[in-house]
């Protein structure tokens, strides 16, 4: 296996761990952590997409000095996705705070007033 593929493997593992956490853990905070893990995996995947072996940082004035630059677009995508992830995590955690206030528990199996 090519060593360059390692980041993709790690990204896939992170996504898998995140989904596992989301499906099998019972604490709402751990569910949020699971979502964060999936997000990290996707972000790592995006950054790894843009990597070029022996590439330099994509700074405009350096352009002719080096043959290859790392792709800047995936980095911009990752950054945007991190911003969005920040907002969603903050919102999810605030909901968790209020759920704990109302239900007195963070167990996902007990927070099920809305069903049927």
């Amino acid at each position: 296996m090519n060593i360059g593929n390692l980041p993709f493997v790690v990204a896939a593992l992170l996504v898998a761990f995140g989904i596992y956490t989301f499906l099998y853990k019972r604490n709402l905070i751990k569910l949020v952590i699971g979502v964060s893990l999936v997000e990290t995996g996707v972000n790592l995947f995006l950054v790894a997409l843009g990597y070029r072996t022996a590439g330099i940082a994509p700074i405009y004035t350096f352009a002719p000095a080096a043959k290859q630059m790392v792709l800047p677009t995936p980095q911009a995508l990752t950054l945007t996705s991190i911003v969005i992830g920040l907002a969603t995590t903050a919102l999810l955690l605030s909901f968790a705070v209020f759920i704990h206030r109302h239900y007195g528990t963070l167990d996902v199996r007990k927070v099920k007033e809305l069903r049927g």
Binding site: I19, F22, L23, Y24, R26, L31, V108, R109, V111, K112, E113, L114, R115, G116
Partner: protein, 113 residues
């Protein structure tokens, strides 16, 4: 301009509305042939409930939401038991459905490609 046609069927709401109004008019014409010499406040205008006394109108008589379609829900109870059991209210189950659908879609798409 106001109708739509699917190539094998057509729907014209204006024509439908005209027909509807025409049927209403016919209904009123038929109604006007009815007896006009009944007297208000006598047994002639009383509601006939299989010979029972007409109950006093009150909120307690109201057929409430949960009583409606009781028979139908009871008849389909096997279906409803299963479908309601799927709506557990547990977030992990919902996410499991998502992952499951994703897997099925993958399998179908990769197989038929």
């Amino acid at each position: 301009m106001n109708g739509i046609s699917s190539g094998f069927g057509a729907w014209n709401p204006i024509a439908w509305a005209l027909l509807f109004i025409g049927i209403l008019v016919v209904g009123f014409v038929v109604r006007s042939f009815g007896k006009k010499d009944y007297k208000r406040g006598t047994g002639q205008t009383k509601v006939f409930l299989s010979g029972n006394e007409e109950p006093e109108a009150s909120a307690a008589l109201h057929v409430r939401g949960r009583h409606l379609y009781w028979g139908m829900v009871e008849g389909l109870s096997g279906y409803y038991r299963r479908v309601q059991a799927l709506h557990t209210g547990i977030l992990s189950d919902y996410a499991a459905w998502f992952v499951g659908v994703l897997a099925v879609v993958f399998v179908i798409l990769v197989l038929v490609r």
